[in-house]
Symmetry: C2
Subunit: 193 residues, 2 copies
């Protein structure tokens, strides 16, 4: 069991409907030492890749992506959620559906900050149905950038996202993959990696 | 002139209606070395304070607050924007009006992560009309926490927010205070500190 799986067992709370609350250390209150450790671990796992930019999506990906970008010594870019229907020609855009909030948002990245010379590492806190990640991959592809890999903190292995992303042929590293959760007993089953 | 003022002059772009674009290094693409430097500078300025938590608001405050929290060796908590009208009893809530987006949002912090034992340092990227910061101050006060200080990266000195916050008697440190901007000439006038 790795450091993240241990932390999930210690402080994660299983709620009904396959919801895992990790807001005490990952996506509301953030344990900065853990963020640094996550940054180092993704750097180790993608050590053979050339990375010029780390790309994530607001809001909870930002903290994690900062510490990954620090390890690679490159800038971090975060895609912004935009309610505007009038998207101008200065941005790349993708439509993303939120699993948590059951709504759709456009996410945008300025064309100034992503181009065909870039080799990007995509980072996010959760992978469930994969919509947010597919949006980020689409934005990187629109820019002509090379997606070197994807780093996920917690993958819900019983949802379709991981399969979809792996089928795209992009190297995907999830620090913890949850195959099952039980809200009644609080049990979490991790996939052996 | 300090490191941040120099960077604003180098890479900031003055737009009409007193808009300053710093999205190439601060709030869309983030220069991680600069974030670390900002973290160290706030730690230096608030070195005499006891700080148990750093509090900010999503999204663009998160990256900065992470590196401030790292210097103090404490957790970072970010207030979340919530569209929900049905706020439960588990969160502190404040209504915040956005200068940029001209709309109102509730921002919430879980009661689990802020209490009367906490001494908080509030961090944000911009201070203009002060609405977001007043919301954060209100949330800290609802929790019974002590606000030890406020660290702002860029204060628009020609707007009312800085005056409002200073009138509250809370120590406020802004790394750059802009007294005037001119979109036609691109001139930025900093307040001498």
């Amino acid at each position: 069991m790795n450091f993240l799986e241990e932390r999930i067992l210690k402080d994660g709370i299983v709620k009904p409907n396959n919801v895992l609350k990790v807001d005490s250390f990952l996506n509301h209150q953030m344990d900065i030492s853990l963020m640094e450790q996550i940054g180092q671990e993704f750097h180790r796992r993608f050590a053979d890749k050339t990375v010029t930019k780390v790309l994530t999506i607001e809001a909870s990906g930002i903290g994690i992506a900062c510490f990954v970008a620090k390890e690679f010594g490159v800038p971090m870019v975060f895609a912004k959620k935009s309610k505007s229907i009038n998207i101008d020609n200065e941005v790349y855009v993708a439509e993303v559906e939120s699993f948590t909030h059951k709504n759709k948002n456009n996410v945008i990245v300025s064309k100034k900050f992503l181009g065909e010379e870039d080799h990007v590492l995509l980072i996010d806190d959760f992978l469930a149905n994969g919509c947010a990640l597919q949006g980020l991959v689409g934005i990187a592809q629109s820019a002509g950038a090379t997606v070197e890999g994807i780093g996920i903190v917690i993958e819900k292995g019983f949802q379709i996202g991981g399969q979809i992303i792996r089928n795209l042929g992009i190297p995907l590293e999830s620090l913890a993959i949850i195959d099952a959760m039980d809200a009644e007993t609080g049990t979490i089953t991790f996939r052996a990696q």
